[in-house]
Symmetry: C2
Subunit: 359 residues, 2 copies
């Protein structure tokens, strides 16, 4: 087991990464101390892991909320149902909400934990690669609005993150690949050494080699933790974590949530951001090929789904990263170095999107 600490003064917390963690009742009981636990999970994860987590807490008051699978569950109505259950079962302020599942479960549970009685404790037990390297770390919680992703939420740090890499053994290939998109992102925005390690080890990751997975997850969490510690509420540097996401959110929204996976949309978005970085004279042109190569090697798409390019650009205007009416975009200066820019015109973006086969 490796542990990465997220340093946020009185809200600091550990991320434990290793094999067999969800099967270790003593460990779980030691990490989550509340007398009342609400475990939120979904229909896919529950048959696999709910019993072992539930059994670990047979001495506590445990309530379970099982969601259907899918991004559409990350909604304000579902949020309301979780609150209803917490109220009905008289959960107190010192209860803990436990998210057992992927990013949808984590984001929804986190927002419920942030809001119930203005904030109760929250433990993340991520069971997808995407959640282990990204959504369960950093305290961003949210539900989607019908018109845009993650529009309603809170910054609410978990008290602990427990990433059991055994859960990745049962993950669908497509989900594994989607998680690698965010892993590659850390290499691109801040960690050239890790990018090159990924070039050498993407095969081992696709074969689910436990040592490779544990290393990639730990480095990803360490990189993200450093960014979050420096800028918890995304006033500056943290925005770099959104590489590919402004494009990606537009692609997801226009495709209909759930049609394309978040990581797949981010992969296309990172390729578009890299292309835009070259087109605007930031990224040396010769660095584009290895970026596209790594994304492709990780089993991820580079090609846009058939969407009108103009719609994509317009949609990007609704994204949270728009400030004072100007579109802000994360672009690359090099592999391992990103910056937030606001001087790219809609026309330039449209040109890049059109060249990527939108429409």
């Amino acid at each position: 087991m490796q542990t990465v600490q997220v340093e946020l003064a009185e809200r600091s917390y550990p991320i434990h990464i290793g094999a067999g963690l969800l099967s270790d009742g003593d460990f779980l009981r030691d990490q989550i101390r509340s007398s009342q636990l609400l475990i939120v999970t979904n229909a896919t994860v529950a048959p696999l892991y709910l019993d072992r987590v539930n059994n670990a807490f047979s001495d506590r008051q445990v309530s379970v909320f099982i969601l259907p699978d899918g991004e559409q569950e990350k909604s304000l109505p579902r949020f309301g149902e979780i609150i209803d259950q917490l109220v009905a079962e008289r959960f107190h302020r010192d209860a803990t909400a436990v998210a057992l599942g992927g990013g949808v479960v984590g984001d929804l549970t986190g927002f419920a934990a942030a809001s119930y009685q203005r904030g109760i404790d929250f433990a993340q037990l991520p069971t997808t690669l995407l959640a282990q390297v990204d959504s369960s770390v950093g305290g961003k919680t949210a539900v989607n609005h019908p018109a845009a992703k993650n529009m309603i939420g809170a910054f609410h740090q978990p008290s602990v993150v427990i990433a059991d890499i055994d859960t990745l053994a049962t993950l669908a290939d497509r989900e594994l690949h989607a998680g690698l998109a965010e892993v590659i992102k850390y290499g691109l925005i801040m960690d050239a050494e890790f990018f090159h390690w990924l070039e050498d080890n993407v095969g081992a990751l696709l074969e689910r080699d436990p040592a490779a997975l544990q290393y990639a997850i730990a480095v990803s969490c360490r990189d993200k933790a450093a960014v979050v510690a420096a800028d918890e509420r995304e006033r500056g540097q943290r925005a770099l974590l959104n590489l590919g996401h402004t494009f990606g959110h537009a692609i997801e929204a226009l495709s209909g949530y759930g049609k394309i996976l978040h990581g797949e949309a981010v992969a296309i978005g990172m390729a578009l951001a890299a292309e835009t970085s070259v087109a605007t004279g930031r990224l040396p042109a010769e660095q584009l090929a290895p970026i596209r190569q790594l994304i492709e090697s990780a089993g991820l798409p580079l090609q846009l789904p058939p969407l009108p390019p103009g719609d994509i650009v317009e949609r990007m205007g609704l994204d949270k990263k728009v400030q004072q009416g100007r579109l802000r975009l994360v672009l690359l200066d090099a592999i391992g170095a990103a910056q937030l820019v606001d001087d790219v015109s809609a026309e330039q973006i449209l040109e890049v999107v059109e060249s990527y086969g939108g429409g």
Copy 2:
């Protein structure tokens, strides 16, 4: 104008208290700088003050959301409607939500501001005494759950509070009295000198003497700000601000929200807490009479509405101040000194409630 500063490091903010502030366009524009403003108000306040605030920002993108009047509007569905409007009008992260009204408007607007895109700026323009001395200061935001008050919310500090005492001239007597309940509370829990000032000046306050009002509001805000600065998220000392509220919330909920005003319920709750403080040997018996006397002089009720005492005690168990299954209660050691206790039995509380004419 007097200004009280709430000291919360990077979230510090001023509370400006004075006459004519809402009519001073330059002042408002200087205090609220965003290019996009959502003004939330209600049907009672809008005809009185909306135009002057709106006019002050004719150079900005201003959207208005007008609620019907009443506590029932502090709901998750209304919260969703405000978010819908922010999304529909493409409000950005650097927008400001402006609450123009009483506690209901402030709490609802604040929770929407806390949650929209995980947090936008928030300005409080309280127009009731209750909001000026209590709900607009300290960053507690929330909506009610059908089963309990303030169950869904966030700590989200305003960027500025502007309390125009001219707005109190049009306030219904009953609302003025309800606000005085929270004013008296500060005297009771932490400020004996202010308690005695109130004993001498309650008449001037009831006559809406501007100098007396401004002084009472400023002292109340100063006292509350000191508590909030020491304990923003209510881990300890801040709970003292809940004197009378555990009783009060139960009374409000059982009466049906809106039947009895929050301040009225708190007034009865403070009398019950004082009585419980005497019954458990904390408060010297001779201090009970002046407390009851001041509450009554402020036009507030001392008598419980006809509710079964057992229901009140049971209902108190759902209150947020329950920790690990034990009922925590704010009691008085003296006028001006309170503490949080958890050793009072349900039977002792029942006895006090019964003696107060419940049932």
